[in-house]
């Protein structure tokens, strides 16, 4: 069994040591993507299936880059092209893939718990690339890596997650990951988009974005799904921006410079204004870069490699 066990299904339940190991492994792996020949042989001979039951561009591409840069063979299965539309169950789909002798499955699925459901039924390693409104652990990890670097550590640091926490798997992974690392976590958003039991997850709640900005060292601004308005959770995107939008004017009143994160894709002018997204404290593109490194680290560790070898792997070329 690897340091992570068979699967990475979420950050809930991971220890500080486990999270630290992933981040420590990811850091040197980042260099691979900076080289002219962006490839190491570490996962040569391994087959990874990216099983996506939900549209995704950046997460799927990020995983695919991570897999390819480590020399794994990859196959992408997207819902429209899969037999799922013919009525085959998730288990049957996965077992059929497994019968073709694969090593890992990266799964994105609209239902909470789907990654775990799969992991309990197949022998391949399973990486959760987002399940419903439950968790998106590699997004959480890339946020942690980015924050750790920018804030010089996570212990005692104050991170506020802003927006639609109720429907956000990114929020849940952030909460567990940040708390494991000793950070203080708060959420800020309309009460209609916060789970009623949110405080029981061990986070603070801010009703006013101004108060959150005054408190925080960093803001992780969630994407507001545009259909939330039609479903009656908020009256309008316009008011959302006026009450909760992260704007330059609001940030300028902060007692310190805040790091600005966003998991993307952004709704400019809704949850985040362009001059913040493109401003000096935005680390949004670094998150994307770190995403590839973190996913390489997870693949590397789940494949059973020892953390200490990561530096060596970095040095090798095809």
């Amino acid at each position: 069994m690897t340091i992570l066990g068979k699967d990475l299904l979420g950050l809930a339940g991971l220890s500080r040591e486990q999270v630290t190991t992933i981040l420590d492994v990811a850091e040197p792996l980042r260099a691979i993507s900076e080289r002219a020949i962006k490839k190491v042989p570490t996962l040569r001979g391994m087959t990874v299936v990216n099983l996506f039951f939900e549209p995704s561009t950046r997460t799927r591409i990020s995983f695919e880059f991570a897999e390819k840069r480590m020399s794994a063979d990859t196959v992408n299965v997207a819902t429209a092209a899969s037999s799922v539309s013919k009525g085959e169950t998730l288990v049957d789909t996965a077992r059929n893939l497994e019968a073709m002798r694969i090593d890992m499955v990266v799964i994105r699925h609209p239902h909470s718990g789907a990654a775990r459901f799969l992991a309990e039924r197949i022998e391949s390693n399973v990486i959760n690339a987002g399940d419903g409104t439950h968790e998106h652990p590699t997004q959480g990890l890339l946020d942690l890596l980015t924050l750790r670097e920018k804030l010089g550590g996570l212990e005692g640091k104050r991170i506020c997650i802003v927006g639609d926490v109720l429907h956000s798997r990114v929020a849940r992974s952030n909460i567990w990951g940040l708390k494991a690392m000793g950070a203080q976590v708060a959420v800020c958003g309309p009460r209609s988009l916060l789970p009623g039991a949110i405080r029981e997850l061990g986070v603070e709640v801010f009703d006013r974005i101004e108060a959150a900005i005054e408190w925080a060292d960093a803001l992780n601004i969630l994407r507001l799904q545009l259909e939330r308005m039609q479903l009656g959770y908020i009256p309008s995107l316009r008011e959302y921006n006026r009450v909760f939008g992260v704007t330059r004017a609001r940030l300028e009143r902060a007692p310190r410079d805040l790091i600005i994160l966003h998991p993307g894709p952004m709704n400019r002018g809704v949850e985040i204004d362009s001059d913040v997204a493109d401003g000096p404290h935005s680390v949004i593109l670094e998150q994307v870069t770190n995403g590839v490194a973190v996913r390489m680290a997870v693949l590397y560790l789940l494949a059973g490699n020892a953390p200490a070898l990561a530096d060596a792997a970095k040095g090798a070329t095809v």
């Binding site: 809930a12 169950t89 998730l90 288990v91 699925h109 239902h111 909470s112 718990g113 789907a114 775990r116 459901f117 399940d131 419903g132 409104t133 439950h134 968790e135 798997r169 849940r172 789970p195 009623g196 039991a197 949110i198 029981e200 997850l201």
Partner: protein, 429 residues
Amino acid sequence: MTAPLLITGGRLVDPSQGLDAVGDLLLVDGKVAAIGGQIAGPDGAQRVDAKGLVVAPGFIDVHVHLREPGREEVETVATGAHAAVAGGFTAVCAMPNTKPVTDNQATVGFVKRQGEAAGFARVYPYGAITVGQMGETLAEFGEMVAAGAVAVSDDGKPVENSHIMRTALEYAQTFGIPVVEHCEVMALAHGGAMHEGTVSARLGLKGIPGEAEEIDVIRCILLAKLTKGHIHLCHLSTKGSVDLVRWGKDQGVNVTAEVCSHHISLTHEAVEGYNTNAKMNPPLRTAEDVAALQQGVKDGTIDLLVTDHAPHHYDEKEREFPDAPNGIVGLETALGVNMTWLVERGVLTIPQLVDRMSTRPAKVFHLPGGSLAKGRLADVTLFDPARRWTVDAAQFKSKGRNTPYGGQTLTGQAVCTIVGGRVVHQLDR
């Protein structure tokens, strides 16, 4: 006619006559011929040694889903009635959410005949409140009652239109049957997969607040108050609902209520790990709710215990949590669960448990049975209150295997079930 049956040396527990004493019971021609003391059986009487066993009026479950007609691959009236007697139930009331819906005399008659043909537990059909359970037009209560329906319900969903519910409560009085409501405000519950609380927040599953049930509970109580009709509230799951029913009873409203064995034993923590066998509607709630429901059963606010036996096919539950159907089987675990969580933990005495599982259901639904008084139906359950056994779903008589109690050890098991003076189930010991 079957031979006379003499049950000797058991602990006779019959709440209908305040009886709790060791003695004999004689059943002749489908009726209780004598009860209490030592009885010298007639010649040719079959004898059953009930030493160490409780001898009770047969259990009655007023809330089961037998899936026939329409979903015979999941359960039939026969397999469901077989599961019933294996669990100690001598009668069950079959909910009408079949395919097609049991909303007419022909289907009611069909379910009743299937029950009679099976020859296990007595099967009393429900009729639907509204045609097709669509909530719009009242079904023909009169004809359904004539065909054997004992109550009406749209269980599986509520009757959302308060005018229809009011009319149903009025019209049902003509035929002396209860109107049985599945309490749920759909707009609040929509898309929910479990109780709304800490666990749902953690698992990222859409929650169903307790208020989705409670708002309908108070609406029904008020409509029963208005109409003086008899409202029976299905599978209550929250402390708030218990409080509201208590208030209704204090007001003199003709309200009765039931609770499922799973709601007095399990909490929403059972969903952890996305266990689809802990998915049901109403959902498992908090420990505080469980305690309040137990208290409600104890003080009589909640009249009776049911199973909401809801078999599903293995493939249907072997799915991603939000896609899995609601419901679990219960007929073959209910006695053990109730004994373990209510009697063993001192909430109820054995006579009180027999009351909530037999005498009260008979009384509330105006059914024969529920009593071992001389001349009454020879429907009897013999159970071993101390027997410890481990739940193995593969052994169920039900076609359903969807139980959250698999592998758990329970105390108390039916040993012999008698319907109309005939032994229809005997435990291999």
